[in-house]
């Protein structure tokens, strides 16, 4: 995470400046986002009634979150009944410690992982490396990001910002010989490297797309097949799950299986959907002998009961909101400086982490609503962003200048005559700045605007001022126009 530039704490705007200068990054993000948008459109159209499906998705997720205590109890009991071990973690540190404890007990030397945003959230890789445990990301994109010592810049396509030349260099450094930039060659290198890791690893760590309460099953949606190796080849399987990722029943999984892949990558279903219920049964020869489920809160339960924010827990982490976001499109994922980027990240990061660190993220949005429109479970993301800005104001965290400005707004805009006066003053004030009928000056409070755009000037006469004249002009025309009608005997006002 690049929350520091030259050792200084920075905000999303500073970080995005770096991104905005990176033409490759922006081209790569646009390219992939466009592909995904197009594929999503085709996939949702083929389903028909996409809106009805979204409505379903929203209803099912809302119901689950509104009864999360019940379903969480049912789910975890069923996991245990199927032979799994369940751990609860209040925060990231506790979850990471729980993982460590299991690894210590198993005397694990090497760990294979499949993509899991929760594992990023608890920063587990770092901790494992500190303890001298080898940890390998096995999803191709995650592996690339890991070799580059970076974090994912997209929740579905972690290496969206890397090109094939960079990837070839990374793979060469990792021991690849005679590699070309050809996708096939690069993929083959990853496959061969990973095979050995899978077979040797002591523990596999995965996330969890959905937990099915009625059965205690963990469901994973993947395309590469790495998650199935991670779950089945090592002796121990650890599942990291955000506490809200549940569905009441298998019937509901059918809805999500239709929504998630379409929204995420425009597929009608992912290549693999793996339903894992506890550990291997007596008589099974492969599959993990021990399964540990870690249920993470880390700020999630705080959103329950907040009428507005509760819906953020409906998120199924499909990434659709990133792909349509015009801000993400310009600045990419790292500029957000948080584990979760894009619109969902701008909502989730500040609520999962209290304090000032991510407080500026809700402002990194033009509130265009593309995210809300794309979201397969109808989370009103742009409303939540405004809601977070309101919280920020209520807690007195906004800048003094801004507060004064809006106090001025209140005074001026609560009475038309006051507004009139304010406008007159503005008209006077702008005089020094006007060139060729608009404002180009890049100084002053509007510099964010004028650095890249000309600004209009306040009109000589406002509409309020013009109204009387306009009205009487139209009236005269009417009277004029009505005369011939009177002859026809028309009765018009």
């Amino acid at each position: 995470m690049t929350t520091e530039i030259d050792g200084k704490q920075t905000g999303v705007l500073d970080r995005s400046r770096l991104a905005l200068q990176d033409d490759f990054l922006r081209a790569a993000v646009r390219f992939t986002a466009d592909r995904l948008r197009g594929k999503k459109r085709i996939a949702t159209e083929s389903l028909g009634n996409w809106e009805t499906w979204r409505e379903r998705g929203m209803q099912i997720r809302s119901h689950t979150v509104a009864n999360l205590d019940y379903y969480l109890a049912q789910f975890t009991e069923n996991v245990e009944a199927a032979g799994g071990h369940v751990h609860f973690a209040d925060d990231a540190a506790e979850a990471a410690q729980t993982v460590m404890n299991i690894l210590m007990e198993k005397q694990a030397r090497s760990v294979v992982k499949s993509k899991s945003m929760v594992s990023e959230e608890i920063g587990i890789n770092h901790l494992l490396e500190e303890h001298g445990i080898e940890v390998v990301e096995t999803d191709l994109g995650e592996y690339i990001v890991q070799l580059a010592r970076e974090t994912p810049s997209h929740i579905i396509i972690p290496a969206i910002h890397k090109n094939r030349r960079q990837i070839k260099d990374l793979f060469t450094e990792a021991g690849g010989e005679n590699l070309t930039t050809d996708t096939k060659t690069l993929t083959a290198f990853a496959r061969n490297t990973m095979r050995n890791k899978f077979l040797r690893a002591d523990v596999g760590i995965t996330g969890c797309n959905f937990g099915i309460a009625e059965s205690g099953s963990v469901v994973l949606f993947t395309n590469e097949g790495n998650a199935d190796m991670v779950t089945n080849l090592p002796k121990t399987h650890i599942v990291l799950m955000g506490m809200e990722r549940l569905l009441p029943a298998f019937a509901d999984l059918e809805v999500m299986a239709n929504l998630l892949p379409r929204a995420a990558t425009g597929q009608s279903i992912t290549t693999y959907m793996s339903v894992i219920t506890g550990n291997r049964r007596r008589g099974d020869i492969d599959g993990a002998q021990e399964m540990h489920l870690i249920v993470l809160d880390n700020g999630r339960s705080r959103q329950i009961g907040d009428a507005k924010m509760q819906s953020v827990l409906n998120c199924i982490r499909c990434g659709a909101c990133l792909n349509v976001c015009p801000v993400y499109r310009q600045i990419g994922g790292h500029a957000y400086g948080s584990v979760y980027p894009g619109p969902i990240g701008a909502v989730l990061s500040p609520v999962l982490n209290e304090g000032e660190k991510y407080a500026d993220l809700p402002y990194a949005s033009s509130l265009c609503g593309a995210c809300s429109e794309a979201c397969p479970v109808k989370i009103p993301l742009h409303d939540l962003l405004v809601h977070l800005r309101q919280r920020h104001v209520e807690h007195g965290h906004t800048k003094t200048m801004e507060r004064l400005a809006f106090r001025g707004f209140k005074v001026a805009f609560s009475r038309p005559n006051r507004l009139n006066l304010a406008i007159k003053m503005a008209r006077l004030g702008q005089k020094a700045l006007v060139r060729n009928g608009h404002i180009e000056s890049t100084l002053g409070p509007l510099k964010g605007w004028t650095a890249g755009r000309d600004a209009p000037t306040v009109a000589k006469q406002s509409f309020h001022d013009r109204w009387r004249t306009l009205q009487s002009e139209l009236q005269t025309q009417h009277n004029h126009a009505l005369e011939p009608k009177a002859e026809r005997g028309g009765d018009v006002e």
Binding site: D69, R164, N232, E254, I269, T271, G283
Partner: protein, 221 residues
């Protein structure tokens, strides 16, 4: 206890004293009616299954007798120059295909050691269901139906009866739902070959899982 503390906190946020004893009332469950009420004939299901799987780069052979099944299998094995074959320890499946496998090096799950399956060229399995809507195979793994048989080799071949092909995913899920206590610890829904688009959104096949998915659908059996 941690669990109680954790759940109580959630209940409190939801405005109640503890986890409710009764399951919550629901007015909306599962897919919209227009989706579940569709009815397709077996012919339509088979065709849709094939079309969808082929679209994703899978291979589907429709056969209508045991002899045809064996011919198709032997053609596949021959054309791919397969030498080592892994197979589920499943009587019915084995009876269907064994005559073809005589000239191959065959490892049967549970008979040969699991480590042998790392080096198979092709894995043969049955499947519990097919799903027409998506071209999906449902593999419920346990006992003789080892997971590694279809996960590890570069080619996966499944034998499926036409009558096992359901219209939609939900029918297969319904089956799990109605046998909750007997659910295998691993049920794998497989749709086409393994793929990734992580390098410049350029799709590549056979990343970690099999690069080829071949299904022989047997009709009238």
């Amino acid at each position: 206890m941690k669990r109680t503390e954790f759940l109580t906190r959630v209940s409190a946020r939801l405005g109640r004293n503890g986890v409710p004893g009764d399951s919550p009332a629901r007015d909306v469950v599962g897919v919209p009616e227009f989706w579940s009420q569709r009815e397709l004939s077996e012919r339509e299901r088979v065709d849709r299954f094939r079309d969808n799987l082929v679209n994703l780069g899978g291979e589907v052979h429709l056969v209508s007798s045991v002899d045809e099944l064996r011919d198709a299998l032997s053609e596949v094995l021959g054309s791919l120059r397969i030498m080592r074959v892994g197979i589920w320890n499943d009587r019915e499946l084995q009876e269907l295909v064994n005559p073809v496998l005589e000239s191959y090096e065959v490892s049967t799950w549970g008979i040969e050691p699991a480590s042998a399956f790392v080096d198979m060229d092709l894995g043969i399995t049955g499947a519990q269901f097919g799903v027409a809507d998506t071209g999906t195979l449902v593999l419920s793994c346990g006992g003789g139906r080892g997971r590694s048989v279809h996960l590890l080799p570069p080619v996966h071949l499944a034998v499926l009866r036409a009558s096992q092909i359901k219209t939609r995913l939900g029918e297969a899920l319904q089956e799990l739902s109605s046998h909750l206590t007997e659910i295998d610890s691993y049920v794998h829904f497989v749709t086409g070959p393994s793929r990734s688009s992580d390098i410049e959104n350029d799709q590549s096949i056979g990343v970690h899982g099999p690069a080829a998915e071949i299904v022989i659908v047997v009709e009238n059996l």
